[in-house]
Amino acid sequence: MTTGSADPVEAVGVAPAADPGFLQRYGATIEYILIPGAALVGALATFGLFVALFGKNPLDLYFYMYQGAFGTWFSWQNTLTRAAPLILTALCTALPAQLGMVIIGGEGALLIGALSATSVALAMPWASPLVVQTAMVCAGVIGGGLWITLAGALRQYRGVNETISSLLLVYIGLAVLNHLVEGAMRDPASLNKPSTREIGAANMIGSIPGTDVHWGLAFGLVAAFASYILIYHTVFGFSARVAGGNIRAAKIVGLGVNKLILMICFLAGGAAGIAGMVEVAAVQGRTNANLAAGYGFTGILVAFLARHNPLAIIPVAILLGGISASGGLLQRRLGLPDASVLVLQGIIFVFVLASDALYGRIGFLKGKS
């Protein structure tokens, strides 16, 4: 894109350009906010057109989306409750992305994490709640972590593409869950919906005081901040980013790439495993097929929209949590099918990826000094 002087975009850029250092320093950051923001607006506009085709008023749509997501304290709580697992499953895609891997199996790690956490809780009915909860977190991390480590190991040692293998592992994980829930682990009392026994009310992790938002949100925030520090402020994270940038250079300077990949995959799967544990210990109280609610798949979108930055994942997860929270209101007030949230997510994803082409091409951000 060549920059014409009559370009209106150019005129906007005149003011900050008075200080050329400003744009040079922050141009990239502004780009990282501006371009996904523009993609989001474009996606919302497209979705508005889409519902207009079905005779709904797009302005009503935006109003109810805002109402359902952020309009009231009730909808904020709903949004934050949904954001919690999204932060964790997004980390499952974002962490391996630092190493240049595309892992999309967060849903599988979530299911296995939930299953492991439930099994541990059911195995120790004598223990005090705090012990049970700690054991559940550990089991969730280990279960989910090993699940994604498998995809990482297959890539490193067998050259199996990790995108495909991690997705296949989602379906295998779901089958394992259904098999156990309808067989060995089934609560005979669950007739309509086969489930495991409940982990018990005492072992539930409950809500953050003063709200209906469960403690899973705190788990998500801690995991996101910890990941940020790990990736950007530790030697381990630096090595991971070096290996992600140029794997040959990393090998030449003697980094153990295999070990890095396995560890990152374990942490990634562990994050999604905690999401599963949280869904059990804060929402469902047991394991059943309800857990496969698609948080793992929405998490992929969150990670891409946040450009795999662990801190950016937090606001993006809240945004997408809000979109899914507004689904109910859209259904009741506008008569839109529940799948409209999926359509919007798909449109956002497409727009965000297409906007990748814009980086470094916005005239006024080039910082001419």
């Binding site: 595309v102 050259g159 593409n161 997705l167 089958a175």
Partner: protein
């Protein structure tokens, strides 16, 4: 009575019939993806295309009363999703794997949205040819009721094999896939070749989806496809981008997928879900055996991002 006389023979028979029935969507998606990947691009979005194809076929068949119009509509819907994939991938610095993931979500979401009113009504289904007329045994007859789409797919595999080898179009697609520089030097637009290859791939995958909703299982619901699309994409990799191997692999997969229902029909119900996951476990196992970290796969198009 015939149940008793057949005994355990019911299982292999049902697996055989199932292999033919269940393999058809695998076959179409893998042949379509084979064309796309040979041109140097991978479209992971075919899972979404499959579901979208199933929904469009069911809707059009219901509205028009003609299942074949439904098949055509499914193909067109698939080709449009393919065009979208190729269009976005043509932009600079856009990763084709990520676009595939996006279209997987988009295609499924759109199909669920548009397909909401189609869950109740019954649409006209595709006819089947009865190759089992000579037999009195109902299971044999059921196994040999073969759909025309399967026969089309059966014919398509050798035709594609031949086309890749000898025709001008086959050569162009392969050139774009092996070396985009060479294709450019010959004066062809790599992007245009890949656009067409992805659209044809989407067209075939859409048709594969129409089989799901119009023949087997033969209705539209949101659980219709669970990973058949992505399994078929993986299948192309270990079929070494060879259409004939895609055919055999699809049949093997269909057989694996039919194992669960077949065992259930003779009363083996434990492990039902695990048997249903057989195609995914099989895919993973075959990928583990056939891939290698040391060398790129033989027959892999050099421009393909997934093997580099």
């Amino acid at each position: 009575m015939s149940d008793g006389s057949l005994g355990l023979w019911t299982v292999p028979l049902a697996v055989f019939g199932g292999a033919i029935r269940v393999s058809t969507p695998f076959l179409f998606v893998s042949l379509g993806e084979c064309i796309t990947e040979r041109s140097g691009r991978i479209n992971l979005g075919l899972e979404g295309t499959l579901v979208m194809g199933a929904m469009s076929a069911y809707g059009i068949s219901y509205l028009s009363g003609s299942p074949w119009l439904g098949v055509l509509a499914a193909g067109i819907a698939g080709a449009m999703l393919g065009a979208l994939h190729a269009g976005i991938c043509s932009l600079p610095r856009v990763n084709d794997i990520a676009v595939g993931i996006a279209l997987m979500l988009f295609g499924t979401g759109l199909a669920f949205y548009l397909g909401k009113p189609l869950i109740e009504p019954t649409a006209a289904r595709l006819p089947a040819i009865d190759f089992g007329w000579w037999s009195d045994v109902p299971q044999v007859r059921a196994a040999l009721r073969i759909n025309v789409l399967f026969l089309i797919g059966l014919a398509l595999a050798p035709i594609l094999y031949w086309a890749f080898k000898t025709t001008r179009w086959g050569l162009l697609i392969r050139t774009a896939g092996e070396s985009s520089d060479a294709a450019r030097a010959m004066g062809y637009s790599v992007l245009a070749i890949r656009l067409r290859a992805t659209m044809v791939g989407g067209f075939l995958s859409g048709i594969g989806g129409s089989f799901l909703s119009l023949f087997y299982p033969g209705s539209w619901n949101e659980g219709l496809s669970s990973g058949q699309g992505i399994t078929a994409v993986a299948l192309v990799i270990f079929a070494r981008w060879d259409p004939m191997l895609c055919l055999w692999a699809s049949l093997a997969f269909g057989g694996a997928a039919a194992l669960g229902p077949a065992l259930q029909s003779v009363g083996v119900t434990s492990g039902y879900h695990l048997f249903n996951a057989a195609p995914y476990i099989l895919t993973l196992a075959i990928m583990i055996i056939t891939c290698s970290p040391k060398r790129t796969l033989t027959g892999a198009p050099a421009e393909l991002s997934i093997t580099r």
